[in-house]
């Protein structure tokens, strides 16, 4: 259907809403990356099959005929409890749905509206039937993710029914491009990719360039390991992001946009392609949008496995077909970006915030979050936490609320040690920081950055030296090699860290590590290099004793660093079977048959073959 004026859009909205309301029952199955991995596609197929088996009932919308809907949605949030299923109009939330459960769900809920109680989320004796009641979801404020998990992300009608494209219509017909920029500027929206640069200011800078050919580019190259917020938005509500980009195009008078998606997100690419095609078909994207004289075309570029392409100038170089290497700035991207033309470059979450700001106004946006960082922030919480998943909270929410109220605390009642924020460019926050309200400015004070929003929770089983080594090996591998401080500095830092975890560190290494880190931080060319030393600096500051322990006592308290492990045999359990000695590749285990065996730690290469092969659990690791 062609929607070439505002009235038709409103008509479409009414009919789409009526259509959705007319279903007797709608089965919403989470098809985010997590739930697909736990088998939600098979559950979708099974439910469709069962519904099709009914007589006189249609599995899609048909006037006059009773109909049921089976829908694949974006991420419903609680990935750890997947596959997830929501059933409307009853508004039941089922968790960990297995294929064997489908028959019961179909018979009880779909046909009769009765709940299958054992599939509700429960904690202790409490049972939570509705999604909003689950503590993980109840404590969130969903703005960017408002539709994620409740609409079919592959169907434009559902987005329109949920209020989609009304912001675009408002911008095109009620506002001048300047007014749109002013609104975004007054909202105080800051770039959600991590830098926190004011979005409105960026748009203004592009709008006032003399060059008339301009581009809008979306950074969907969410490369931070442990972060999947942007991927979830692209999968779960691609239209919202497209609407945000189109509004940006109108604001800065650009007619062409590019979305750069990382190669590891095939599902995001597929959903975006579909969304672009549907929006074009309805004239909500392409030439003369909604019958106005504004035209905007969108293209998708896939990344090819280079983390540095998340940096602005590297990303545009990659779209142009070059090696993704950053360049010296200025000129900045707003002056000379893609094809050397003025370019608005924002990340997925930033664009996804735009429609609501335009529609509800800057004042509304400012009621959420903090003075300096209004709005919400999405986070992915992972690692040693009870409920992993995707969340959205107002800026200024404390880590304590995120970890304990929403995340359900540390996994297996473990002890909180640190949370890594901001990915390989970020830092660690520890117990005294639990009550700080997280926003762009507050985290900076503690040697960390907001980054894109990956939170990796660590407990006492995590070795902070090893974590620093892990991040350094990542940035070293991803360093593009253009500037010497990053190329050589990260390599030397990694060598030192590898030495320390191997038990061969020297105390003077710590000073050298600090010196190198400061050098790379101040001299590297781009953001990747400048921030690469942050995990080292942050852990050195907070966990210096752990470094010293590795170097002086040759001990790793968390038993993570393999070279520092001491394998021992518990004489109480050892039956003298000799299996460990036979499996030891270096002959470090000696003893007599049917007597107690012992390990010579001088010879031991810490391979763990003895422990793997002991039938009596007699071999253990001592820190």
């Amino acid at each position: 259907m062609i929607i070439d004026n505002r009235e038709k859009l409103e008509e479409k909205r009414v009919s789409a809403r009526e259509e959705i309301a007319s279903y007797q029952c709608r089965i919403l199955i989470c098809a985010g990356t997590g739930c697909v991995a736990t088998g939600s596609q098979k559950i979708y197929d099974t439910m469709v099959e069962m519904c099709k088996g009914l007589e006189n009932v249609s599995v899609e919308f048909q006037k006059e005929v009773p109909h049921l809907g089976v829908v694949k949605t974006g991420c419903q949030g609680v990935c750890e409890l997947g596959p997830l299923m929501r059933i409307e109009p009853y508004h039941f939330q089922y968790v960990k749905v297995q294929q064997e459960d489908c028959r019961e769900i179909f018979e009880k809920t779909v046909l009769n509206g009765d709940p299958v109680e054992r599939l509700f989320y429960s904690k202790g004796k409490e049972i939570f039937a509705r999604p909003e009641e689950i503590p993980f979801i109840a404590k969130q404020t969903r703005v960017v993710l408002e539709n994620c998990g409740s609409i079919d992300s592959e169907n434009i009608d559902e987005y329109i029914a949920a209020g989609g494209f009304s912001a675009l219509a408002k911008a095109l017909f009620d506002m001048t491009p300047n007014e749109v920029i002013e609104e975004v500027d007054r909202s105080g929206l800051r770039g959600r990719g991590g830098g926190g640069y004011p979005t409105g200011r960026k748009w203004k800078q592009v709008a006032r360039q003399a060059e008339k050919e301009r581009y809008v580019v979306c950074n969907g190259d969410e490369g931070d390991p442990g972060a999947f917020m942007d991927g979830s938005v692209m999968e779960g509500d691609p239209f919202k992001m497209i609407e945000g980009m189109t509004i940006a195009g109108y604001a800065v008078a650009s007619s062409e946009g590019y979305i750069y998606v990382r190669a590891e997100y095939p599902m995001s690419v597929a959903r975006l392609r579909n969304a672009i095609a549907q929006a074009e078909e309805h004239h909500l994207l392409g030439d003369n949008i909604l019958g106005s004289d504004f035209s905007f075309h969108l293209h998708i570029n896939r990344g090819a496995g280079a983390f540095v392409c998340g940096e602005g100038s590297a990303l545009t170089a990659s779209i142009e077909g070059n090696r993704g290497m950053p360049r010296v700035k200025p000129p900045r991207t707003v002056e000379k970006g893609l094809w050397e033309k003025p370019t608005v470059l924002n990340n997925v979450e930033t664009f996804a915030n735009v429609p609501n700001i335009v529609l509800k106004g800057a004042e509304w946006f400012r009621t959420i979050g903090t003075e300096g960082s209004p709005g919400t922030k999405t986070f992915s919480i992972t690692g040693a936490i009870e409920n992993t998943g995707l969340i959205e909270v107002p800026m200024g929410t404390s880590l304590r609320d995120i970890i304990y109220e929403i995340g359900g605390g540390i996994k297996g009642n473990g002890e909180f040690k640190a949370v890594q924020i901001g990915g390989p460019s970020g830092g660690c926050l520890i117990t005294p920081h639990l009550d700080i309200g997280l926003d762009f400015d507050s985290v900076k004070k503690y040697n960390a950055i907001m980054g894109s929003g990956g939170l990796v929770v660590m407990d006492e089983h995590t070795c902070m030296v090893e974590v620093a080594r892990f991040f350094m090996s990542f940035t070293q591998r991803e360093s593009c090699g253009k500037c010497v401080p990053c190329r050589e500095g990260t390599k030397r830092m990694l060598e030192i860290l590898e030495r320390i975890v191997a038990g061969e560190g020297r105390l003077e290494d710590l000073d050298q590590l600090e010196e190198l880190a400061e050098m790379v931080k101040s001299m590297a060319l781009c953001g990747l290099g400048k921030s690469a030393p942050l995990p080292v600096l942050s852990t050195l500051k907070t966990f210096r004793d752990e470094y010293v322990e590795h170097i002086v006592e040759k001990k790793c308290a968390s038993k993570t660093c393999q070279a520092l492990r001491q394998y021992k045999i518990n004489p109480e359990f050892c039956k003298g079977c000799s299996k460990c000695a036979k499996n030891c590749p270096v002959g470090a285990i000696t003893g007599k048959l049917k007597e107690k065996y012992t390990i010579n730690n001088e010879l031991c290469i810490k391979c763990g073959a003895c422990k793997d092969n002991c039938a009596f659990n007699a071999v253990y690791v001592e820190a």
Partner: protein
């Protein structure tokens, strides 16, 4: 020498993206999607067709981790070693797979061309860490034991 069918396929891909320098990366991605690697002869051909120097094409292809000049196995296994997976102990999974297939960080593909094993820095399924993919299908909450069982099942399938 590659069969003519390879060049016909590439012509089709080039036509889709257009004969311009900026088409290089998407063209290489589609060639690799088709053949699971990027044959050098085809890259030379593409460079000529879209009007860029061969050296430039190689410099771009070698910059990005995704492109491989070596043929890959029937099953491409990617073990995630992103932060979340790393914290939830992904390293033993990789070790177990390497050991089972006789591979190492230097040797990625088995001689019978059945398996290629790589690491990846984040698959975006962190909620279900540790994860791995087999030909892009995500397998969640892995353990070394589950990984070995999966490989043995694939061996059965492939034989």
């Amino acid at each position: 020498m590659l069969d003519q069918s390879y060049y016909d396929k590439v012509d089709e891909i080039i036509k889709h993206y257009g004969r311009k320098a900026s088409s290089l990366i998407p063209i290489m991605q589609d060639i690799q999607g088709e053949y699971r690697y990027l044959p050098g002869e085809l890259l030379t051909y593409v460079a000529k067709e879209i009007g860029i120097r061969e050296a430039k094409a190689y410099s771009v292809a070698t910059f990005y981790e995704n492109f491989s000049f070596e043929p890959k196995g029937k099953y491409v296994i990617k073990v995630c070693d992103g932060t979340a997976c790393h914290v939830r102990k992904s390293a033993p999974i990789l070790e177990a797979i390497f050991k089972e297939l006789g591979l190492s960080p230097k040797k990625h593909t088995t001689d019978d061309m059945m398996f290629t094993v790589e690491t990846v820095s984040c698959l975006g399924a962190c909620g279900l860490a540790p994860t791995m993919t087999v030909n892009d299908e995500v397998h969640p909450v892995m353990t070394p034991e589950k990984a070995l069982a999966l490989i043995n099942a694939l061996k059965g399938e492939g034989a």
